[in-house]
């Protein structure tokens, strides 16, 4: 008789955020091997695409992309640029991976940037100024105006989650999930079919605003609370409208469930870039499951999967980092006794 798979949990830090894998495996050894596989892949993508690191492949590619002949993108990068290009087009320019200068300008500020600073950053922003041929005769070629930078952070984290899930599925794992800073891909439900319970953090306070049941697929949350600026008592999102140079005044947080984490992340980001009314309409028409929070109350697609909970059932552990995700209690074998919160 086959041994019943046991649940294993692994926490680590990657891409600047807390990460977690829960996996049903036959033994601790096989689980450890799977965790190593995932960490290696996430680190590979971080090394390749981090815009914080000067030694990333992206950094060296961007240096080459300013040359007149441009730079040839490898298949994976070309596919990510193609996806970002689609997001840019669908958002009518609101989503823009060239807005890195603007994001840096508005990152955790204590005072408003000057109009001159904004104009300077805007001059180095705009996907339409980029010469990108996804399928040229010499393969995909990228040419950037001098001084322009790219930030693929908005897609790489979700992509890394999907890559991790793909590697685990390919290795034969069917029950578990991968969570990178609140963006998840659920491989499959608990043995026996019970879905995982994932908490959506409250963007304005402690605890969770919803407990979500997920059996498989992607779940991503975008919020205005990450790297936001509080200037004169007013909250400014880290999401900048590249058309105006000013932070978006949208919803506080949007969670979306979709077949992949990449898709869920793209939809939650696009929704966050719209004004609240447009965003609700956009989500309602999507056909996906979603939950939005405007800072005061939450709205969802209403079919029960994303069920808002009025009060967090467990108070937030003050020792925990700000980012919170609530997961279902695992059986005693691996569950750390101290808390039902993971990070």
């Amino acid at each position: 008789m086959a041994t019943h798979p046991l649940p294993f949990r692994h926490r680590f830090g990657a891409m600047g955020c807390p990460a977690e894998i829960c996996l049903y495996a036959g033994s601790r050894e096989s689980a450890s091997a799977a965790f190593a596989l995932v960490e290696e892949e996430v680190n590979r993508l971080d090394r390749k695409y981090s815009h914080y690191r000067d030694d990333s492949d992206l950094a060296s590619m961007l240096r080459d992309a300013s040359r007149p002949q441009g730079v040839r993108a490898d298949d994976e990068t070309a596919a990510l640029l193609h996806f970002s290009d689609t997001q840019h087009r669908l958002s009518e320019g609101r989503f823009d991976i060239t807005a890195e200068r603007l994001s840096a300008l508005w990152d955790r500020r204590t005072c408003l940037p000057s109009a001159g600073d904004i104009a300077g950053a805007l001059a180095l922003t705009g996907w339409s100024k980029v010469n990108w041929s996804g399928a040229g005769p010499d393969g995909p070629v990228l040419k950037l105006p001098a001084g322009m930078r790219l930030d693929l952070g908005g897609v790489v984290k979700e992509y890394a989650v999907d890559r991790a899930a793909f590697l685990l599925k390919s290795a034969g794992y069917a029950a578990g999930y991968v969570d990178l800073g609140g963006d998840l891909n659920v491989l499959g439900p608990h043995p026996g079919g019970k879905p995982w319970i994932i908490g959506i953090r409250n963007p304005r306070g402690p605890g969770a605003i919803a407990a979500v049941q997920v059996s498989r697929g992607g779940l991503a949350t975008s919020g205005d609370y990450e790297r936001c600026s509080l200037i004169g008592g007013k909250r400014y999102s880290h999401l900048i409208d590249p058309r105006t140079g000013w932070p978006v005044q949208g919803l506080a947080s949007v969670s979306v469930m979709a077949p992949t984490c990449l898709l869920a992340g793209a939809m939650s980001t696009l929704a966050l870039l719209l004004n609240p009314e447009e965003a609700i309409g956009f989500l309602a028409a999507s056909g996906l499951r979603w939950l939005a929070h405007d800072g005061h109350c939450s709205r969802s697609d209403g079919n029960g999967m994303l069920r808002p909970v009025p009060e967090p059932s467990t108070p937030r552990d003050p020792r925990k980092p700000l980012h919170e995700t609530l997961h279902e209690t695992l059986p005693e074998t691996v569950q750390p006794a101290r808390t039902t919160y993971c990070h």
């Binding site: 049903y24 193609h82 939809m267 028409a285 056909g287």
Partner: protein
């Protein structure tokens, strides 16, 4: 799943170039959809040297099928199907001996025109690793009515590597042959069929899968063909078969995904036996080759071999003592080859498929048993076009 917006579809499509993304999406639930299928089936005329008299033209069938699939909520889904087909042509009636050329086929003289309508509905529940499906259906034509129902269950193992399935079905059929008094056919008869099945699917590794299944079917009632006659001892009399039949099948399927060519090999085997003495084996191999831009091309080859029951003969020189006889070519010892080519084009909102198949059968293709020179063995063409719209 509800209808996805164009934004979601565009994003989904543009993410497919990323490594691994297609595999992650492969296990997604079926989307709501509506499909229309048209099939043209055309039997080749009977060769003149095998025809005693009657029309050499055989059946032509045009059938149209409309299928609607809807996810009602997270666990329930509904499928409704309607089919209408029109058939025309002549059918093999009986066989007469000819000392010079061997048995010759007598075909029905007049062109038969028939319409058949079929309605099916199925409800599935998919929850906690169990899938249950209950279905009912009704088929009607001017001389034949069938009412049937079925249940099928499926359970995936905890690790998702094994799936067991089980099911049962029942059908009640009523036959009222046309021109019964004129041709001394049975005026009204019924037939009951009950069947049980069990199967097991195992994922061998990330690229290979095996499936095996057993089924048992019991039929009782009027199992003869009211429109067929048999040459028995210088007389032409009604087809006569036992009024009970127990049938069993064993199937084995294998799928292997080829990473380098991104193609999949399919190999299926089926064994069939019954207590009338019929045995058959079927082997089918296919190659599913994605050709880029949403195209998939699938050539496949199928071989079928069958041995006849004891009461089959083209003609009977002496009257069998048990009272059973049939010269229905479908019960003969024969073998058949069919060649099929399918092309499917998938787009975000729709898919289209075109399949062409040529089937040829003959005594000489039989792997075992003694071929008995059956004149009515047939060859046919079948072309199917299907359009599916995701709703």
């Amino acid at each position: 799943m509800k209808k996805l917006s164009n934004t979601v579809r565009s994003l989904l499509a543009s993410s497919l170039g990323l490594p691994g993304m297609q595999d992650l999406l492969a296990q997604e639930d079926q989307e709501d959809g509506l499909s229309y299928q048209f099939t043209h089936y055309d039997e080749q005329p009977l060769p003149r040297d095998k025809l005693a008299f009657g029309s050499p033209e055989r059946y032509r069938i045009n059938s149209q099928q409309l299928r609607w699939f809807k996810n009602l909520d997270d666990s329930y889904s509904l499928k409704v199907e309607a089919m209408y087909e029109g058939m025309s042509g002549s059918s093999p009636w009986y066989v007469i001996p000819d000392p010079a050329s061997g048995p010759l086929q007598v075909m029905s003289g007049a062109t038969i025109r028939e319409q058949r309508t079929q309605l099916d509905a199925a409800v599935s529940r998919d929850r906690d690793g169990f899938t249950h499906t209950a279905a009912i259906g009704y088929s009607t034509e001017n001389d034949y009515q069938a009412l049937y129902g079925s249940y099928a269950g499926e359970k995936e193992s905890d690790d998702g590597m094994n799936t067991i399935s089980w099911g049962a079905s029942y059908s009640h059929d009523e036959i009222e042959p046309t021109d019964a008094a004129l041709y001394d056919r049975v005026e009204r008869a019924t037939r009951e069929s009950g069947s049980v099945a069990a199967g097991f699917t195992r994922i061998l590794n990330r690229n290979a899968l095996v499936q095996t299944g057993l089924s048992l079917t019991r039929q009782s009632g009027y199992l003869s063909d009211p429109y067929k006659l048999v040459w028995v001892q210088e007389n032409v009399i009604s087809d006569s078969r036992p009024d009970e039949r127990l049938m069993w099948t064993w199937t084995a399927r294998f799928r292997q995904y080829m990473e380098r060519s991104r193609a999949a090999l399919q190999a299926d085997f089926r064994y069939f036996g019954d207590d009338w003495g019929v045995r058959s084996e079927t082997l089918e191999v296919g190659w599913h080759q994605p050709a880029g831009e949403g195209w998939e091309i699938t050539p496949s080859l199928r071989y079928y071999t069958q041995t006849a029951p004891d009461f089959y003969g083209p003609v009977f020189d002496t009257r069998p003592g048990d009272g059973y006889w049939s010269s229905d070519y479908r019960l003969a010892t024969f073998g058949a080859l069919s060649y099929r080519l399918n092309a499917t084009l998938r787009r975000q909102e729709w898919s289209a498929a075109l399949t062409a198949e040529y089937y040829e059968s003959s005594d000489s293709l039989a792997l075992s048993g003694t071929p008995q020179d059956t004149p009515a063995l047939l060859d046919f063409w079948r072309v199917t076009a299907r359009f599916t719209f995701n709703l």
